[in-house]
Symmetry: C2
């Protein structure tokens, strides 16, 4: 599914750069301040005006946990995918009230459940700060100096903005070096659960049907935003379409695509093909296996691991698809010719004399990346100490060290502008299950032995004379970090006080930290910064050569995509764009109602009440990627006709290149949502609120 | 489970050497011509005489597909595990008659089903040929010369014996260089299925409970051997015990442990820990994932992949356990001190002057192995072209080349003595499912790209300008090797005729074969042969120093092990040695009867008829390993009291070292077998035959 992957550090390694590119058909993840109005008018006879764009922008919501959403009522109701909300639903669940498994509906507002650690952001304004940021990087600076200078000015801009507006302020690098935009977000942290179907209805067909089509998923959840303990009076929200969509109709998607790699040079794609993806998949295969083994031992184990396992399977499937794309000579050949064309154009113009070598600089940086990736992943990204406790411990250790530094010189996550999110994660009351953590940590330590080598000094220090299994059990039995009060106390402590604490995971973090920081620094300066500058050169030349009617790679910030409702052809067979409820019952029957094709009890009981011909899921050609999960699909009138939740397996190459031949976005149909709500869940109050009948 | 793993080539790389070692408690996989009678008498008051040993030996059966068994009636009835017979049962099954899932019972002999490609061997005699083999290796020969000379004499001995006795004849290297024994086997190829329970009864608890205890598995299957279309009149068979076993009782196990690595030097264990196991697990994790993904898409997919998936999960779990053992400093420290003690003793005696460097020679060879293992696994072991068709194609290609060479110079699998088995595998009528083969091959080709590098000349030639998925589909659509008649025709063809055939998989095999053969040759001479000679030196010294009361590492030939019926302690809790039928019903209920804890329908219907207190599975301390699956567990009177089918998770270190603290063999109780047969399956005829009531 199109969820933003939570392997965030690894994903960051895979693709962080944003460059402009030429558009093809309904291609594009467009900035709200640079929408291709001419193209839309010409191709689809529609020009969104500024009021339309402002309305849609402020109706759109980012789930910081990794997804998109939208306001859909005047009373702060927010719609997103079940799989985007699953983490929050899981945190509200326990062995007695398993809302993730059984679903939830608050018939009245006082029954709505306040979520733990759920932060929603709404983009309020965009300001171009390119000039101020670019000005600090002077000719002749080393990469480290340039990196630090830019970090400092970004931190300054963010802090000034936050102080002035009280809004969350982030400087977003776009078109790498091409532009830097200051995004200001309103933050909402009182978010309550209103409605969730059974996970089995949301994710019917499970991992086997994930990224496949036809689909039959009610992948929807509703939250409500509160302010001062009252439902938010939303200035902007999307109305519900009375009639849904129809085949061939233009639909638009407002959401937060996470990351794409479309501006990657051939050398970068080769790195991903030969090193990045194979290693990431190696990690995912073993992680998936160890979580599956744990899950299968008992029903309670399964509940505890479900959400994490589900995320890993989703990432694995997405990367498998990406790997297939990178090994497809047709795709790679297109990339090669595009690059050759641009390089030839650059070579012809003496003005771009210095730009030509940028491709070689990037290729060199990729060689360094290939050497760094394994130790970096093990130590800095924490794969070798795979437990929630280690992340907490290292955050505490580093926070004590970073907080006394000037804001601009800190590691990015410790800048003032990120303090709220950092604290929310660190002080999360989310239950940590020690049995599951022992399994993950034992596997992580084994992986660490395999990758760094058993005799490596740091490995020996971390293992402390024990086997990975024994050491994992020991560390997790002894840690005090399960207690949020301990974390809060240590968050205020000095480095010396933390040292005196003898907290086992902080000791482990300390053992690894010098090397981890060194790897990160090398990575940020010798790979990322070097590439950033080279990409910036390429970007400038490309602007000049190819024109400005372009969009940057995805950055998990708000974008507008569009396309038409359309099926596709597979193995000579037409795949229709819409599915209906009836198809879900048929697919379940084919599998003898066996997991993960089993119908929730309510769906069996209420079948007769349901109009089985109601559209359930549908396809469109809009250009989406992970992070777009939960994005509203709207018509020209900005009315909701659907809800993005997945792409088909052919869409997994969209990471590198757009195609509307067979790649499709998959959505829940607005008509299916309301029909199920009324007939299956007896949630007429909510359906009335959505459709404006109340 | 204790099945011989079918990753045979890889396993061969992991541990092929056999050395003597000192015994500890009831340790030992003893040769039938060197049973520790004194120890048995002293510790257990029992001396098996020669008649007893001859009787047990000739009642024991080897399943060449990878397991053990025994004759249990005068009419050629053979007992083994369901998981040993599963492959044969699968081959008899189709979508209509799913005997693997639903079980099978032939009430009368005419209903017994003839198996495809199932060969059973019975060990008829053992002859020491050490002198003749050792004599051909002369001082000053290079490793290649020594290897070839020894291969030649072994081929000669095998051929002479076969010509003379018509028995399958194999020279088995034991105590590496210490001894070579000629084993003569009677071969049986008309084997018919008599009884199998539902796989769900045989493998209740599935992968989650595999290698765990308590267990509740009816992991048993009965075949009958025919000769001249009539049931075999067996001269030797094991009688059924009237009363089963009791706690603390001495039990003996006659079976075919596959391979152990107990004589490995520390350098070899370090190789396994740092390179061999991590890479093998990497391969297993991805293989398991791709088979699981395929299986989960439909019930029919699941049926097609079930047996293979089950084997991979079993191997993965066993290797995970082995990896944990290798990373346990207690185990490694014991190995290090034992080696230091022996090396010190060797150093003290001038007679062993040259032996000391053997450990260093082995360590050097292990460095070469570490460099070879990845390309070797990809090309020679076929992991990069993971489909049944490739194995068939390469066998045909190589057979055409090898058959004209002198017998002693051929690759081992093409020697005359192996012709029967080779042909049986090659001409197997086992269904090959193209959809499954495409999935495996696409993943294999992707793995090949990852490991050898996408730009590698051989990779490019194999892919032929296509992506792995496209190429896999193309090759499998075009191949003619599904047709056994084509294989038979090509088996008789010359190299030139085969070339003219344009068979796509043979072309792929030809592309890779020069490099694959080169890797194999380097591996066999620079690693295996060098180590063989060094181990032989160490073995001689160890004999002299530690005495001759020792057993060699496992070689998938007949061994006698023994121990007592006994529970163990885990996390301070006593685990009882016996389980009962009642426990199976309880465990199923705990899991709401969900897969893989679901009871077969018969077990639900017939519950009331069953004596729930009947012993079902039990533990003993006998020294077993993969390949022992299906071994009879007998008492002093050579009566069957049980059937080995697994070890607990703590027994997975037995590969490297014996322990009777918490490592246990797991068996089906003979009383449970008969009770289920009569009460659940209405198989009184068979129960009568077993218990001699007929």
């Amino acid at each position: 599914m199109m969820r933003m992957e939570f392997l965030s550090t690894l994903v960051a390694l895979v693709a962080v750069l944003g460059l402009p590119m030429c558009i093809y058909a309904d291609e594009g993840m467009w900035l709200f301040n640079n929408v291709p109005k001419d193209y839309l008018q010409k191709k689809h006879g529609f020009t969104p005006d500024d009021a339309w764009l402002d309305h849609v922008q402020k109706s759109s919501v980012r789930f910081n946990s990794g997804g998109s959403g939208s306001f859909v009522s005047a009373d702060g109701l927010v719609m997103t995918n079940h799989h985007v909300g699953a983490d929050a639903i899981q945190k509200l669940s326990d062995e007695k009230n398993n809302y993730l498994r059984d679903g939830f509906f608050a018939k009245t507002r006082d029954k709505e459940l306040k979520c733990v650690d759920l932060e929603l952001n709404v983009l309020m304004s965009i300001e171009d700060v390119t000039e101020r940021v670019s000005a600090v990087v002077k000719e002749g600076m080393t990469p480290t100096e340039a990196f630090q200078a830019r970090n400092k000015v970004i931190a300054d801009i963010e802090k000034e903005s936050k102080d002035k507006t009280k809004l969350r302020s982030n400087v977003i690098p776009l078109y790498q070096g091409g532009q830097y935009h200051l995004y200001r977000f309103k933050q909402y942290t009182d978010v309550r659960l209103v409605f969730a179907p059974e996970q089995q209805a949301a994710f019917f067909g499970g991992d086997p049907d994930n990224f496949e089509y036809p689909r039959y998923d009610l992948d929807v959840t509703f939250f409500r935003v509160y302010e001062n303990d009252k439902p938010l009076k939303a200035d902007h929200f999307l109305k519900w379409s009375a009639n849904g969509s129809s085949p061939g109709e233009l639909v638009l998607v407002s959401g937060h695509p996470g990351r794409t790699s479309r501006a990657n040079t051939v050398a970068e794609l080769e790195y991903l093909r030969d090193t990045g993806f194979p290693f990431l998949l190696q990690r995912l295969y073993r992680w998936e296996t160890s979580l599956s083994v744990f899950s299968d031992r008992s029903a309670e184990n399964g509940r505890r691991a479900k959400d994490e396992l589900f995320g890993i399977q989703n990432s694995r499937k997405a990367r498998d698809g990406g790997m297939a794309g990178l090994l497809d000579p047709k795709i790679m050949q297109r990339k090669i010719s595009n690059e050759q064309t641009l390089r030839a154009a650059v070579a012809r113009d003496p003005k771009w004399k210095d730009v030509g070598k940028s491709w070689d600089i990037i290729a060199e940086a990729e060689k360094k990346r290939a050497k760094l990736i394994r130790p970096y992943t093990m130590l800095e990204a924490g794969a070798g100490v795979n437990t929630a406790y280690f992340s907490i411990a290292r955050t505490l250790l580093r926070h004590a060290e970073e907080k006394d530094k000037p804001n601009g010189e800190r590691l990015a996550e410790f800048r003032d502008s990120n303090a709220d999110s950092l604290e929310q994660t660190l002080f999360s009351e989310e239950p940590i299950h020690n049995d599951l953590e022992i399994v993950k940590l034992a596997d992580g330590l084994t992986f660490l032995c395999n990758e760094l080598g058993y005799s490596h000094e740091l490995v020996q220090k971390v293992l402390a004379g024990k086997s990975p299994r024994e050491r994992a059990a020991e560390l997790i039995t002894k840690t005090k970090l399960k207690d949020v009060a301990v974390r809060k106390r240590l968050y205020k402590a000095t480095s010396d006080e933390i040292k005196a604490e003898n907290e086992p995971f902080i000791e482990v973090a300390r053992i690894l930290d010098a090397e981890a920081r060194k790897l990160r620094k090398t990575f940020e300066t010798d790979v990322e910064e070097v590439k950033r500058q080279a990409h910036s050169q390429i970007a400038k030349a490309r602007y000049a050569i190819e024109g400005s009617s372009v969009y940057p790679d995805a950055t998990f910030t708000l974008r507008l995509a569009f396309g038409v409702v359309k099926g596709y052809e597979q193995d000579g067979k037409e795949v229709a764009p819409y599915t209906e409820f009836a198809g879900m019952y048929e697919r379940s029957k084919e599998h003898n109602n066996k997991e993960p094709f089993d119908l929730p009890a309510r769906w069996v009981e209420k079948k007769a009440a349901l109009d089985l011909k109601t559209p359930f899921n549908f396809l469109c050609t809009a250009d989406i990627i992970g992070g777009n999960s939960g994005s509203p699909v709207i018509n020209k009138k900005a009315e909701v006709v659907g809800l993005i939740f997945d792409g088909n397996i052919q869409s997994l190459v969209l990471d590198f290149t757009y195609s509307d031949e067979i790649a499709r976005a998959v959505s829940v149909d607005s008509r299916g949502i309301v029909e199920a709500m009324r007939k299956i869940y007896g949630a007429d109050e909510l359906a009335d609120e959505l459709t404006g009948k109340k």
